[in-house]
Symmetry: D2
Subunit: 354 residues, 4 copies
Amino acid sequence: MSGKRVAVIGASGYGGLQTLRLLLGHPDFEITFLGGERSSGKRWSELVPFLPLPRDLVVSSPDPDAIAAAADLAVLSLPNGLASQLVPDLLQRGLKVVDLSADYRYRSLAQWQEVYGAEARQFPRSDSDLCEEAAYGLVEWDAERIAGARLVAAPGCFPTASLLALLPFLKQGLIETGGIVIDAKTGTSGGGRAAKEHLLLAEASEAVAPYGVVGHRHTSEIEQLAGQVAGHGVQLQFTPHLMPMVRGLLATVYARLRDPGLTAEDCTVLLGAAYRNCACVEVLPVGTYPSTKWVRQTNRALLSVQVDKRTGQLIVMSAIDNLVKGQAGQGVQCLNLIAGLEASTGLPLAPFYP
Amino acid sequence: MSGKRVAVIGASGYGGLQTLRLLLGHPDFEITFLGGERSSGKRWSELVPFLPLPRDLVVSSPDPDAIAAAADLAVLSLPNGLASQLVPDLLQRGLKVVDLSADYRYRSLAQWQEVYGAEARQFPRSDSDLCEEAAYGLVEWDAERIAGARLVAAPGCFPTASLLALLPFLKQGLIETGGIVIDAKTGTSGGGRAAKEHLLLAEASEAVAPYGVVGHRHTSEIEQLAGQVAGHGVQLQFTPHLMPMVRGLLATVYARLRDPGLTAEDCTVLLGAAYRNCACVEVLPVGTYPSTKWVRQTNRALLSVQVDKRTGQLIVMSAIDNLVKGQAGQGVQCLNLIAGLEASTGLPLAPFYP
Amino acid sequence: MSGKRVAVIGASGYGGLQTLRLLLGHPDFEITFLGGERSSGKRWSELVPFLPLPRDLVVSSPDPDAIAAAADLAVLSLPNGLASQLVPDLLQRGLKVVDLSADYRYRSLAQWQEVYGAEARQFPRSDSDLCEEAAYGLVEWDAERIAGARLVAAPGCFPTASLLALLPFLKQGLIETGGIVIDAKTGTSGGGRAAKEHLLLAEASEAVAPYGVVGHRHTSEIEQLAGQVAGHGVQLQFTPHLMPMVRGLLATVYARLRDPGLTAEDCTVLLGAAYRNCACVEVLPVGTYPSTKWVRQTNRALLSVQVDKRTGQLIVMSAIDNLVKGQAGQGVQCLNLIAGLEASTGLPLAPFYP
Amino acid sequence: MSGKRVAVIGASGYGGLQTLRLLLGHPDFEITFLGGERSSGKRWSELVPFLPLPRDLVVSSPDPDAIAAAADLAVLSLPNGLASQLVPDLLQRGLKVVDLSADYRYRSLAQWQEVYGAEARQFPRSDSDLCEEAAYGLVEWDAERIAGARLVAAPGCFPTASLLALLPFLKQGLIETGGIVIDAKTGTSGGGRAAKEHLLLAEASEAVAPYGVVGHRHTSEIEQLAGQVAGHGVQLQFTPHLMPMVRGLLATVYARLRDPGLTAEDCTVLLGAAYRNCACVEVLPVGTYPSTKWVRQTNRALLSVQVDKRTGQLIVMSAIDNLVKGQAGQGVQCLNLIAGLEASTGLPLAPFYP
């Protein structure tokens, strides 16, 4: 087990719970440290009676020395901004870190500070070097860099679904980079476990509503990687909607095809080729559209393509579980790569249905 | 009560149930005939113990003479195609008809036969004249014609939400007519009460999925009226999604502004002016986005506008209850106009929340 | 409108919102004061954009003089304990008060202090006289006393459903008073609008769980009235369960029949007779069991009886909307009586379905 | 793999889907035959695109010879009555069978014919011997008999949850056998995948309702085993309720303690001892009540006990996933025993949460 001892910081939030559940089913990693502020000092079995761990650890305040003594790898599931206060200390002590927050997703600290203004004011940072160093953990697009990284920033849930759909077409130059529309739908677990009125069942059930219209933070995260792959800046329209369900995320992506002769079949072949070696991404046949339920509690992304010959629009549908491929599962994929394992090792790919 | 006796045909489906519930709370109409095939011969109180009617009628097979003897007005909530088999007989007997099906929504019978191919094969029709004569029941856009009509085709749920959002901008020529994207989300009650596997709670709950991608029938219905108002043909992208909830429909409409200087405030003022005299349409202030829950079980449409200066995109969000403003409530609005009443008479506009 | 001006205190919680919605549809009352601490100083239309009131009042801190200047009647929807700090001041100023909290549901202040221990410590009280004076607002069982009261304590949601089912049988002495089991199921809105982790959609959806097993506070409230009607003390088993839905409450009540010869039909007749003159209570035919959906957003209680000849058990099922007949609707029934109106005036009895 | 080839008959229903999903994650079994009538001739990947199997089999009509040629073991997930038409042919050909239907749950064919009257009329049977021979597959209570059986009748979902809660107390003679009340709550997937109106999301969502009150078929199944363990006949009250969720089942069991001095702690110790060696049953500490969400998509049963000293009632709460421990998972437990494996081999015990 040398090099495979894992600390999970922020253990009782949804990101932490998912990470622990995935590590429980993993053949190679051992959970050796549970970090948390709110629940510090409590035994895991009291805190979460429904998810027994092999060792009934006590949750501890995330002290860097204690973490370093217990673990080789750390997964951080902390609020934005807070992660950046811990990461440098962990790296300094030789740990490798997968961070589920947004703190290292931007190459530029200044951009993070602009997009995450409130967090930047609360948590002063000067770790520009780490922002540049960190690998962006979209496994299907940068596995090599992730495998060699000390610090991986796991992508946001919306960027994951959106980029898996868009990047192959941007890379091949098949779509216009202006006028792209991403209409995304997510379950309420994406809002985290801390109690908020608008996420109450009584409020969010039997309701669909947009939020963060124009300027949602994930817009810039999507645009950063889209621009890198396209080779020039991309500006797009991203609109998230809150759905009355626990988990699942669907991105419906609209873009104009450059070549009006391309068919849905052509685009499906292209997408299939792009992900041929990716165990966690599957492209559906033309006319079969993904349901978020088909990927629930799995680390799989399901993609499907349709083309409207009348309008010249390409429509790519992309479904993931927001807490697995959109968060903790992708984090474990990154852990796998760092540990020299296959990216999909130990990750569930088949759903329980219904 | 002369001229205010109403027959409801297809009484125990969702369209019928909503119509009856709305008529129950209405000060001017009287329910005098309940039509249905499946439940013919049954007493209403046995069939639907939870919705007592003032007169506990027996459901009858929809015989035109019997209907004409009992009623002045008829609301038809029948499967597409079937309605056209009854409507001519009712008109001939002097009834005025509000039809909730798609049978008279197109000016051209040939177009209906193309779009509703399976139904056209099952139900041969030659009532081109009625297709031309029928008023399209989008009350806020053609009240006068509806008020004078013998036959009104109540719009589909998706067209209602989409057109209320789009038409003011098309009429003023403020948006490009190419590249319009309508991403719509609906509850499962839109699929009707007849049992279908994909609408089971076990299948549809905790799931979001697109369907009818490219070529959904409501596309052409939306384009017909959009084209009329724009003054030239419009081709747009319409994609519906099934949501894990009973009722509610949200259309998120994306279009490119012709004048990049227009702000969200400008567009909100414009939209507000367009619906100034419409009791059933309300425009929210900039930054307040509609939830379907805010209109549940009401006949209100809530609209909100946002503009992205970076991309030049206009985003109009439009929320309705698919069974009320999207179906039976709009039908009762049409009945009101036909009967010489205010369009919103007797219709609920305030939601129970949560 | 003299004597019909109503103040709603705690306006933006669920009890307040329901009260306002019901008063909006009421022919006789006028909303003249909105009280609230959290939202004090805000205009109603900003606070709750989806429920416009005829007069767009500013929410005010609940000052007794200001309330007395504006209103004749007050509905209080405040946390337990807090209500008792305001009620005496309002009564002193001549208002009549319907209190939706538990503060005046017990004849004995000492019992309240025992059952609501934490609240009693936070809010010291010495208004024993008001506890004795207050009418218990179960309209179907004490209309006369309510009509003449200055202060009415509206019953809890579980007691309402349970007592409507039990009392006729206790009164007639038809069931044994030992061994009664009430297994109750409620939607999450019963937990209020303040954000709590266990009421998040992500936690409460796709989940059923018991809570407050043995000793839930409503046990003693049910036993108090059951004992009064039975003529001697009653001890029973009450177990609530949290359901994955917004609103609705079902109590399944089990009791042993004294006379083993009684049939379900006999018991249905008896129950029907007990509520013959009660517009808000309906008894279903034998074999038709109530769904909470049949009473959603109505002030109706639906009852159904079954008898197991093998075991001698009587089973009474009782469905209400926890926020209407279980809270605000019953409050408005009480207001109606106080104002000299029919108890059901202005209250919705027919559901929108589905 | 000799002796570990499994045929799944009724593959695309919920029982079949769960069985396949569980076998997919199992280290010892191989899926070698998929049987089904409706979907006969279709390739699995077309039929169920979201659950790829290692071998993309074609679904076949369940011919006994073909099944015997391909498999050593068969899991039958067929409608009640239909299973009995296939089982004798399979046993004759040397297969061992786990039947998920009710056909062999009763020792007496005559009792089955009485309880399942409609099925008995449709499917004439004379296999009394098999009814007597079949093992009842409640693994925690009869592992030895199951391990040696040719034919195992997997218990119903309600009996599983109810009996796990009741049997230890009946066996020890700690509760009165009269007056037992089981109030059960289940998700809609228990009603199967065939489309039925009352299981539509639009009908079943936001609704709780009892059904099968007095005389539900599972009553007699529960009583059969309860009587065997108690040593004399037991008659109890069983009332199921339909919950607005996909999966999960909670039984709340009420019984009167014989010894009024027993505490919740005593009863918890007793229950813990009864299931000490059962990996799939866990007893929670006093005061921690099980949520169905804690066992979702696992084969675990969670039990909790409470005692009301005032009333002398014992309350046992029992939560399972109706499709796993309540159906297919218990079936796989039986397969494991038949194949000489540990009962819990390959079965998920930890939930994904939320």
